[in-house]
């Protein structure tokens, strides 16, 4: 019988703070190898298909950027929430609402064209996401309702609402009954960065800009300090005169707006129209990205690329080996698990103790203690 014992470190370990995501990734690889072996696939072959082949050509790197952009945008916003100890887990819904509200112009006013269309769409997308995120924020501040549950429930509502829109009032009348809106006009499509090399669009630039801006906000501005204080010690925050309710709104509106921006960027960039499903769970995967990136915007950029690769790899093993692309979800879940576990090492040292061994030792310690006192 063995037992784990945590011993608090005098201060957080900078070493493990930097190492933990890498240890977590290594552990995920080991667990993944076992999983592939259980599925009857040579792990090396599988890893080659999963992690190497999807990023071995330039156009594939563009696909990686397309997948990473929404993950980074959402996760950067969520990191502010989680730093402040505010649990917005409904980013998936805010993403969808951003996509819907941002699509109002190209779907309802397709004749409206010109350089103003795209900025307006992006703005509306952010407003849509922020407004949807304002609901759990309002309920939390007004009534003290748990934001975890309300923000999550609203995801289901948003998915059903989008489903109704594209099958009902917004359906393309010339679409042969397919549940989708009309194709967006040219001025409503997010341009590609390098059309000759691949499909990556401006969404990736938005993600990088958002990461830098939030990094400046969190490390260089008073608001960022407020977030950290209220997150680690609400009492201290109150004494300093920081309003918790204002912070709830700030965090929800910011993360909602970024999720909304991600939503409309995805719809107008990668997809080009609204469909019943516009996200392969970006809003949930972004939670993993936020934690893997240590809730730090720069770390989140790297983590976003890693998680984007798990999506591409999932598609690759499905087509090459016939394994369900759910394998991506499994990798993502394992990664978050290991990251959280490794984070323990930042604050604690772990000692493995065999129970049988500890008892005599403890007894010896107890005996030794008074003697030590006498010796002093």
């Amino acid at each position: 019988m063995m037992r784990l014992e945590l011993v608090k470190r005098p201060q957080r370990s900078a070493l493990f703070s930097a190492l933990s995501p890498f240890i977590a990734f290594a552990l995920t690889i080991i667990a993944g190898a076992i999983m592939f072996a259980l599925l009857g696939v040579n792990p090396l072959t599988a890893f080659n298909i999963y992690f190497i082949e999807p990023i071995s050509q330039v156009w594939q790197l563009h696909e990686l950027a397309i997948k990473a952009a929404p993950l980074i945008l959402i996760a950067v916003g969520l990191s502010v929430c989680y730093k402040a100890n505010i649990w917005n887990i409904g980013a998936e819904g805010q993403f969808i609402l951003g996509g819907i509200v941002g699509s109002i112009i190209p779907v309802l006013f397709p004749q409206f064209e010109g350089p103003l269309v795209l900025p307006l769409m992006l703005l509306l997308g952010m407003v849509g996401g922020a407004a949807y995120a304002a609901i759990p924020a309002l309920l939390k501040t007004r009534f003290g309702t748990n934001e975890i549950l309300t923000s999550l429930m609203l995801v289901y509502v948003a998915q059903l609402f989008l489903d109704w829109l594209v099958r009902g009032p917004w359906r393309d009348p010339q679409g042969h009954g397919f549940p989708q809106t009309i194709q967006f006009g040219d001025s409503a499509v997010l341009p590609e960065l390098m059309p000759d090399a691949g499909r990556a669009n401006w969404g990736f630039v938005f993600a990088l800009v958002a990461a830098v801006l939030v990094w400046i906000l969190m490390s260089r501005m008073l608001k960022g300090f407020e977030v950290r204080v209220l997150g680690s010690s609400p009492r201290a925050g109150r004494f300093a005169g920081f309003g918790l309710n204002r912070m709830v709104f700030f965090a929800f509106l910011l993360s909602g707006a970024l999720a909304g921006l991600a939503g409309i960027s995805e719809v107008s960039g990668a997809i080009g129209q609204l469909q019943p499903v516009i996200s392969p769970g970006y809003g949930f995967t972004a939670i993993i990205v936020a934690f893997l990136g240590r809730l730090n915007p720069i770390g989140i950029v790297a983590a976003g690329l890693v998680l984007a690769l798990t999506y591409l790899g999932g598609e690759a093993v499905q087509s090459a080996l016939g394994i369900s692309d759910k394998v991506a979800r499994v990798f993502q879940g394992m990664l978050l698990f290991f990251v959280l576990g490794c984070d323990t090492l930042i604050h604690y040292r772990i000692r493995l103790i065999g129970l049988a061994l500890t008892k005599p030792q403890d007894a010896a310690k107890l005996e030794a203690a008074p003697k030590l006192k006498e010796a002093r």
Partner: protein, 306 residues
């Protein structure tokens, strides 16, 4: 009359998984641990239950497998949050994400396969009593387990010494530890119990409610169960009432869709989720009630000092 009985029966069927999962989570939260992985444990129970029943041909073995699957899966959460003192909210979320992925992968070969339904209990004589016969004596076995479980948890928490100890841990783990109570051991057992319940609830979905495997078939029920615990302010009998109210909402919207009420089906389908939000708001408006009943150390990590 028959229609009423049928509707009541379907409400009971819809309420049972919510009730079982919520009762399990209630015990977990009473011990001071917040496990947001209910949805993940439930879906793992559903796939494990269906898989075992499909492979062995016996839904009873499926039932046991569902319980075992939920319990084993919850152990992951327990090791992380209790032994490694990780953040409970984040760990619970990752349990849900992992469960949804893992179940999808494990269930690939079960999609579209016919399942076998757990047979209803049939007591000769009693079941044929008009109206109440089928309601009280002719339901699926998990229905009876759910009612017995609620009564047992009520008795355990409020009438036994161990239950009192468990609640004291939930209210102050430091005081409990100072009194020499094995906080971590109690919490391990509570979390595993919660996992077994969530697994059983999932088993109900894939062995009784719709005897087949469909990806994401829990459809947010795990989250609604979490909301039910808050709604019930951590009291078992209120969980029972809440589960039946939600069962009624769930069935009500299905019947409304079947009757062709001129409201888009998507709006009706979103009713259970909206109802959850509304109910949470109503209950949290009463701050004193919530404050009084919330286990005081809910969600806080605990590391015993020496």
């Amino acid at each position: 009359m028959d229609i009423t009985v049928n509707i009541l029966l379907t409400i009971a069927t819809a309420a049972t998984p919510l009730l079982i999962a919520a009762i399990g989570e209630l015990v977990v939260e009473r011990s001071g641990v917040l496990n947001l992985g209910v949805e993940g444990m439930m879906i793992m129970g559903a796939v494990g239950g269906f898989g075992a029943s499909y492979l062995t041909g016996s839904p009873w073995i499926g039932l046991l497998a569902a319980i075992a699957m939920g319990a084993v899966f919850s152990l992951l959460f327990a090791v992380m949050t209790l032994s490694l003192a990780t953040n409970q909210v984040a760990t619970g979320l990752s349990l849900t994400l992992l469960g949804l992925g893992l179940s999808g992968m494990m269930g690939t070969s079960f999609v579209g396969q016919p399942g076998e339904r757990l047979p209803n209990i049939d007591i000769p004589g009693l079941t044929s009593i008009p109206v109440i016969g089928r309601l009280l004596f002719g339901q699926d076995p998990i229905f009876y387990i759910s009612i017995a479980l609620t009564a047992a948890v009520m008795w355990f928490l409020f009438k036994t010494r161990t239950g009192l100890t468990l609640r004291s841990i939930g209210d102050s783990h430091t005081s409990a530890h100072a009194l020499g109570i094995k906080v971590i051991r109690y919490r391990y057992l509570a979390v595993i119990f919660g996992g077994a319940c969530a697994g059983l609830a999932g088993g109900h979905l894939s062995l009784v409610y719709t005897p087949q495997w469909v990806e994401n078939m829990s459809a947010g029920r795990g989250w609604i169960a979490l909301a039910l615990v808050v709604f019930a302010s951590w009291r078992p009998w209120r969980v029972l009432a809440g589960a039946y109210i939600f069962g009624a909402v769930w069935i009500g919207q299905l019947h409304a869709q079947a009757f062709g009420i001129p409201v888009p089906s998507q709006f009706l389908s979103s009713l259970p989720y909206l109802a959850t939000v509304v109910v949470l708001v109503l209950i949290s408006r009463n701050k004193r009630l919530t404050m009084m009943n919330t286990p005081a150390s809910l969600g806080q990590p605990f590391v015993p000092d020496r």
